[in-house]
Symmetry: C2
Subunit: 306 residues, 2 copies
């Protein structure tokens, strides 16, 4: 994929409270302008990809990548191609996870899932194409040395392959995660944690010269944030409304899934979320004010209702 | 139009030696030994990937890559990681194409398709994981400069994305290819031609310093070979036996597909195959004896019955 409108510089003003909306807005504009070089005959498939890609959402992963970039004292807009690649991959995983053979969900982000609108064949292919185009976009549009591009793509494919996102979905859909907390951590560490961690890790790899103290702080933060994200997701599945979460609540329960709520109960899951939230914030301590937006993201993930 | 039994012969050019079995054997051994770093809990998904990956087949694309490497005066085994990546991608495309929502095929390479054995969810995820691991394997195992790795991966993802393999499958499954020869060329150029061309092109990119005359010769050869492959595939779909092609014949007709046979009739399709075969061989002329195996591959593709 390449991009139509030129990239602008983002405001360096850090939002003191609430989600980093300037980053999210810049990302949405970038995503909206994405085009893929392809024959006009396949425009229908591109439209299907865009239907899911532009369906909204909080854009946690791309905003996280951009905030990480800013925490390194760099311009967030420089990392937009990578951020788009991550969101394309995340979107492809949602499209495939929603398929009848998988979770069989009719709604996603408050609108009908892609296979309900375009049929299963197009949904499968839209997911397939999004992954290929994500890697292509990263390698053709992201400004970085070839060495850094290779390192980031290695990380991203590992995070989304057998030992990452896809492996996690396999454990989830077949209920194969081992018993106990360790099994849940493995499951979610693969299914959602790997891509969240990669959203930070790849920015470090693309930047190349990052002080090791900052790298350690950011990796620890990403690790805590990934688990926090899932715990809150599990809490919202039982406590959120359809309007809030964009699909009927209780989906996990209906699929007989083990979640942090089924494993620990709601109260303990909430307590766990609070501890993870604090750990994520604490990890950022060495970065001082450079990490202001990363703190806001952690706050948002911990307190989100959608 | 209706299609009767074969009336033409594909053996216009006598195969000099048969298929390059040494390359195929080396490739099979490499593929057999391929492992992916992942937790033991996802071993079942890895087994599913291997079920399809090791189901046999002529290994046209990897052998083509290895023969291209040898035609450049280089050791074919050096290109094995790339060759494996291409075969993993090809295998993923077969798994997804065979799904009930797509071609709904029960047999592939003479054995039950993956979704018949492991269910649709695992089949979808095995395809997804194969693509991610293919790119990961290429970038971590292929010996080449970072620049060359980036160039080859850009080429490979373009060949397998919206403007390549996946786009072609979209046109095919929805019958969206434009009328006439141009539409068929577009369809197959995307669906099968792009990956066959990439099997040659990426070897050139990974090698970096290839004389332009050799590059031109090899690209022309790959272009002709890609079309030839599909024309013969279409012929075999109506003239082959289930034992030969590993699935019930007439699958294209049952899916109402336009093929080179439905478009031109069997006799003309056979004539077309002979012309493409000759064009592929002719393109190799500047390479002399270095291209001996590439000629054998063209002979094989033209005369294959499986």
């Amino acid at each position: 994929m390449s991009v139509g409108p030129p990239r602008g510089s983002l405001s360096a003003v850090v939002a003191a409270e609430g989600y980093p909306d300037d980053l999210k807005l810049a990302f949405e504009q970038y995503l909206e302008g994405l085009v893929v070089k392809s024959p006009s005959e396949v425009d229908g498939l591109f439209s299907a990809m865009r239907y899911s890609l532009l369906a909204g959402g909080k854009r946690i992963r791309p905003v996280l990548a951009m905030a990480t970039q800013r925490s390194l004292g760099r311009e967030p807009s420089e990392i937009l191609p990578f951020a788009a690649a991550v969101e394309m991959i995340h979107t492809y995983s949602l499209i495939h996870d929603d398929l009848p053979a998988m979770d069989d969900d009719d709604l996603r982000r408050g609108i009908p899932t892609l296979h309900k609108v375009e049929g299963e064949a197009t949904a499968i292919l839209a997911g397939d194409a999004l992954y290929a185009e994500a890697i292509h976009h990263l390698l053709t549009e992201q400004h970085a040395t070839p060495n850094a591009l290779v390192a980031a793509t290695v990380q991203l494919t590992a995070a989304t392959g057998l030992g990452g996102m896809v492996g996690g979905q396999y454990l989830d859909v077949h209920g194969l995660a081992p018993d106990g907390a360790k099994g849940l951590l493995l499951l979610h560490g693969l299914k959602t944690g790997a891509l969240i961690r990669a959203s930070v890790e790849c920015v470090l790899l693309l930047a190349e010269s990052v002080p090791s103290s900052a790298g350690t702080a950011l990796r620890t933060y990403a690790e805590q944030l990934g688990v926090l994200f899932q715990v809150v997701d599990d809490i919202l599945d039982v406590s959120g409304t359809e309007e809030q979460i964009g699909k009927p609540p209780g989906s996990d329960l209906r699929h007989g899934r083990r979640t942090y709520v089924t494993e620990y109960g709601l109260d303990e899951a909430v307590e766990m979320a609070n501890l993870l939230h604090k750990a994520a914030i604490d990890a950022l301590e060495p970065l001082g004010s450079d990490a202001a937006e990363l703190r806001v993201i952690a706050d948002h993930v911990a307190t989100r209702t959608v």
